[in-house]
């Protein structure tokens, strides 16, 4: 969905319509890889990194690398009204806020090694 630098994530109509686009409200996993982990579509899964953990619903897709879990953070706001109540898996909980991890393009520490398991 059009992101608008976070300024529209407190509009419920946006979240309503964003449900048409797969992947917004959970963690996207490769279907075959998820099956190997005993994870089904909609299962609650734990996402654990060396420094923290978060959880969310599994969204199984074919077009995701088997060794990657994707968590869109458009609605992942933790303070913005409405968005903070959506129960999104939060990247903040698993990725350290460290300048050394900041990439040159998105200026965000948005990649972290994780382990996934069904809860």
């Amino acid at each position: 969905m059009q992101y608008s630098w976070g300024s529209n994530v407190s509009l419920p109509i946006l979240a309503d319509v964003a449900r048409n686009v797969r992947g917004h409200f959970g963690v996207m996993l490769n279907r075959g890889a998820a099956r190997g982990l005993g994870i089904d579509d909609g299962d609650l899964v734990e996402i654990a990194s060396p420094t923290g953990r978060t959880e969310g619903r599994a969204i199984l897709r074919e077009g995701i690398r088997p060794d990657v879990a994707v968590v869109l953070q458009q609605f992942g706001h933790w303070a913005t009204p409405f968005a903070r109540d959506l129960g999104m898996p939060s990247l903040n909980q698993v990725a350290s806020m460290d300048l050394a991890l900041t990439d040159a393009t998105g200026s965000g520490a948005d990649l972290v090694p994780v382990a996934i398991r069904r809860m």
């Binding site: 969905m1 059009q2 509009l11 419920p12 109509i13 309503d16 319509v17 964003a18 048409n20 686009v21 797969r22 490769n30 279907r31 075959g32 897709r61 074919e62 077009g63 995701i64 088997p66």
Partner: protein
Amino acid sequence: MVIDLRRCVGCQTCTIACKQEHALPPGTQWRFVADCEVGEYPDVRRVFLPMQCMHCAEPPCVPVCPTGASRRRPDGIVWVEYDACVGCGYCAVACPYHARHLVHDAPGYFDAPTPSERATGRPGRHGVMTKCTFCKERVDAGRGAGLTPGVDAEATPVCAVACIAGAIVFGDLDDETGRAARLAREQRAVPLMPECGTRPSVYYIAE
């Protein structure tokens, strides 16, 4: 209507435009863009498929209506006369495209109705069947003003006007020189699920 799937990027601008134009309550969408995948990893493709009422020439939703509220106009637009609809839902069951939406209760998006929701709410649409109207009021008003649907924005459904990619082309398919009919013919557009025998008026260009 002809929808060019090669141009659709799944942005949902048509979805939002439709919801705004018709003041649709939370959870109700007369049209939306489905996010589909074709194939299996690693040989997989993402396809965005706009879905809505197909305004069929043989609409299965019309003959099943016990009150005659479900109708088709001579120009092809399939619509519901709200005053005659009893909300029984037969038409929704008959529609193979899931294009009909029965709204019993229409809460707003917030705890209390917003000023715009109060101004645009349509209480007359509660408890009756609702669906894509091809923006018939807009099309009729435009036609009445001497404008051409599909050519002039003011006479064209808002989804087609709002589309950022020009993927939705509206027009009279019987007008062989019109853009919609030409596009459908030249690009070999196809209807969705023709095996249902409903003869849709919405065509898709796939490849």
